[in-house]
């Protein structure tokens, strides 16, 4: 009589593991999905910055806080102790688009802000219409 293959024995032991792995992955994806959802939602209490209004008359928005979602198009200035300024391109769902510069204070320095990546920011419009980041989340 032929010997039974070991693969059959092996296969019968790995099937449950596989199922478990798949489940974990799905769970992670789902978690990630939900996490992202929960982060946008985090700044979602803030109004999305009216980029057209900001571009035309940023001073009128002084003192307000807004949600900014966009892609960093350039790191305009960086300092070691006083923060940096990045340019963010905003393309909103209503079709408005534009770019603005955001001052990233030094306390948010541990966050890596890379050019070309999408970020969500909690910004505040300070004097003379300058946008200053309060919180930054990478997308």
């Amino acid at each position: 009589m032929a010997r039974r293959s070991r693969s059959k024995k092996k296969n019968s032991n790995q099937a449950p593991m596989l199922i478990i792995g798949i489940a974990v992955v799905v769970a992670l994806v789902a978690a990630g999905f939900f996490m992202s959802k929960s982060s946008s939602k985090e700044f979602s209490t803030l109004q999305e910055i009216p980029i057209v209004d900001y571009r035309d008359n940023a001073n009128s928005l002084s003192g307000n806080q807004y949600r900014l979602e966009g892609k960093v198009i350039s790191k305009q200035r960086w300092t070691a102790d006083r923060g940096q300024v990045v340019a963010v391109q905003v393309d909103q769902s209503n079709g408005d688009s534009g770019a603005l510069s955001v001052v990233i204070p030094p306390e948010l320095g541990e966050i890596n802000i890379e050019r070309g990546l999408q970020y969500s920011m909690h910004i505040e419009i300070v004097s003379t219409g300058i946008a200053r980041a309060v919180a930054v989340k990478a997308k």
Binding site: R55, V85, T128
Partner: protein, 632 residues
């Protein structure tokens, strides 16, 4: 007839106006060679030759001598009497009328009637010739000379008649004297007989004494009468001779006068009449010693002046004038106006009243007249240093006459014009170098040598231009100042070639125009560069380069620059709008400065044109506000 005689004769005559003679022969040097016939030349002893700076080619005018020396020959001015007569002769029509023909025929007839070769009694010749004189005198051209001749002949005849009467009287006297002598002889014989007879008575003796006394008184009366008759005879003889001589002198005087007046045909007639009237063989001319006619015979001919000699000289003059006219015709036929005019002039000077001279056709006279007038014009032109006109006349003379030698005058004109032009050149150089002293000297020299030099007009134009430039310079400076005040640098640049010379002596203006020219050149280069960008499709780059130029205050009003920017506006409107908006917000033109908004617009501009220097500069300025480089 000796040639020298005619030469001397000619010097006794008023000198004819001579045409221009460029051959250079002098009268006293080569009188015989001047005439093609060789032995007749109308000359005047030149009083003085003037020195010529170059040679005998240059005419010298001596108003005091009323002559002009050219080529060593002396010519009288037109003011001389015969010169004007000669020109009048050339301008007049030939005497070809029926009257003139009839007159010449009458002269011929008189000469034929009185000809020594004619075999006829002298009285008949005299009568027939004398009869024709009034006919000839009726012609105006005769000037009543035949009448004068006729009167002289009549006077001479009268004197001869008186002389004949005297002779008759003398014969009668002689007869009477012979009778008285005879009677005296008879009486003397009777007296002798009575004295020889003896006497017887006293009374007879007394009667014999009274008879002899009476006879003695009678003899004395006879003697006295004879002496009276002899004295009367002597006186009448002297009177007769004196009358004849007086008649001859008067008649000869007329002949010599006619000879000096060149009325040679009348001289010949007069001589023939003379021989017919007097016929005694006494031909001696009783003229004043040392007079012109006396010299003519004594010095010229070396003989005593006689009527026959006068007749011969007149015939020779007639023949000579005829031959000169013939020579003139030959020259004219070969277009040799120069020699032809000289022959005609000589013929006129000798035989003005001869038929051959008077019948020269009008066409030929006109040709010679024009040639003579041009020749005199040439002399005058050379005299007043009008070499331009002289050249024209020389050319005309060459075309008119095949024997006109212009060598001397061409050389003179070339020499003087060259000297004059060199002075003009020197004057121009002095004017350009602004050496006014030398300019005036050279101008004066040039004017003295050739007053009508056309190149002197160039100097005048230079001077006029300089004067106008002075006026123009002031206007240009004013224009420059006005454009500079208006900051219309482009106009200054366009007129830079006018302004630069006008302001070159003003440091401030000169620096300004140099700067403007430099800047405009920069603009021009920028425009060219922008055009190059645009041609490559880089309109944003072209636009920004032009805007950068226009942002400079000195270029802000440049029309060309503005026009070029406008031309790019349609293709760069988006960028322009973004930058304009960004600047407005940055500067706070409509309120407070808006850093955030301005930065958005600069970012927008940078998005449109990533290479925008304006966007970059704006962003940097705003970053200095948002996050200064170093903490202050």
């Amino acid at each position: 007839m000796k040639s020298s005689a005619l030469i001397l004769l000619a010097t006794c005559l008023p000198l004819a106006a001579q045409v221009y003679n460029p051959t250079g022969a002098t009268p006293q040097q080569q009188p015989a060679n001047n005439s093609s016939s060789g032995d007749t030349t109308i000359v005047r002893q030149p009083k003085e030759k003037a020195a010529s700076p170059i040679g005998n080619e240059i005419p010298f005018l001596d108003p005091n001598q009323e002559s002009i020396t050219f080529g060593g020959m002396t010519f009288p001015l037109l003011e001389s009497r015969l010169g004007s007569q000669y020109q009048s002769y050339l301008a007049a029509e030939p005497n070809l009328s029926d009257e003139a023909t009839g007159y010449r025929q009458a002269i011929e007839d008189i000469l034929a009637a009185t000809s020594p070769q004619r075999s006829a009694p002298m009285s008949q010749k005299l009568r027939e010739g004398f009869r024709l004189l009034p006919l000839a005198a009726s012609y105006p051209g005769d000037a009543k000379i035949c009448d004068s001749l006729g009167n002289a002949i009549y006077t001479a005849m009268l004197s001869k008649m008186n002389s004949r009467q005297l002779k008759d009287m003398m014969e009668d006297m002689e007869k009477e004297k012979s009778r008285l002598i005879r009677n005296a002889d008879i009486t003397a014989e009777g007296n002798k007989l009575q004295q020889a007879q003896p006497t017887s008575s006293k009374k007879g003796g007394k009667q014999n004494n009274s008879k002899s006394v009476i006879t003695s008184r009678e003899l004395r009366n006879y003697d006295k009468r004879i002496l009276e008759l002899e004295a009367m005879q002597k006186a009448n003889r002297v009177k007769g001779e004196a009358a004849i001589i007086s008649a001859k002198v008067q008649y000869q005087g007329l002949l010599t006068q006619l000879f000096l007046q060149r009325r040679f045909e009348h001289v010949v007639m007069g001589c023939r009449f003379y021989n017919l009237i007097f016929g005694d063989g006494d031909n001696k001319l009783r003229i004043k010693k040392g007079s012109d006619v006396d010299k003519f015979f004594s010095e010229g001919m070396g003989t005593v002046a006689t009527v026959a000699g006068l007749d011969s000289a007149a015939n020779e003059a007639i023949r000579k004038s005829d031959s000169l006219v013939e020579a003139f015709n030959n020259h004219i036929s070969h277009k040799e106006l120069h020699n032809g005019s000289r022959r005609l002039m000589e013929a006129f000077a000798i035989g003005e009243f001869m038929a051959s001279v008077q019948t020269v056709p009008a066409e030929q006279r006109r040709i010679i007249l024009e040639y003579v007038q041009d020749s005199f014009s040439l002399v005058k032109a050379m005299d007043v240093h009008d070499y331009s006109q002289a050249q024209i006349i020389v050319q005309s003379l060459k075309e008119q006459s095949s024997d006109f030698d212009s060598t001397a005058v061409d050389g003179a004109i070339a020499a003087y014009t060259r000297v004059a032009n060199s002075h003009v050149r020197a004057a121009k150089m002095a004017l350009l170098q602004q050496d006014m002293a030398k300019f005036e000297t050279e101008l004066k020299n040039a004017t003295e040598v050739w007053p009508t030099n056309p190149k002197l007009n160039e100097l005048d134009e230079l001077l006029d231009r300089g004067a106008s430039q002075l006026d123009t310079a002031g206007t240009l400076v004013n224009d420059f100042d006005r454009l500079l005040a208006d900051k219309n640098y482009r106009e200054i640049f366009n007129r830079r070639y006018e302004f630069v010379p006008a302001v070159k002596d003003d440091i401030q203006r000169r620096d300004a125009i140099e700067q403007i020219i430099t800047n405009i050149m920069v603009i021009e280069q920028g425009l060219k560069r922008a055009e190059s960008y645009s041609q490559k499709g880089l309109d944003y780059e072209a636009w920004e380069s032009l805007r950068q130029l226009r942002d400079k205050p000195e270029f802000s009003k440049d029309a060309e620059l503005g026009r070029a920017i406008e031309q790019l506006a349609s293709n760069t409107a988006e960028l322009a709008r973004a930058l304009t908006r960004a600047q407005e917000l940055e500067e706070g033109r409509f309120g407070k400065p808006q850093v955030g908004s301005a930065m958005s617009w600069y970012l927008e501009a940078q998005r449109i044109y990533p290479g925008s220097q304006y966007a970059k500069d704006g962003i940097n300025r705003l970053l200095d506000i948002m996050l200064p480089e170093s903490s202050k």
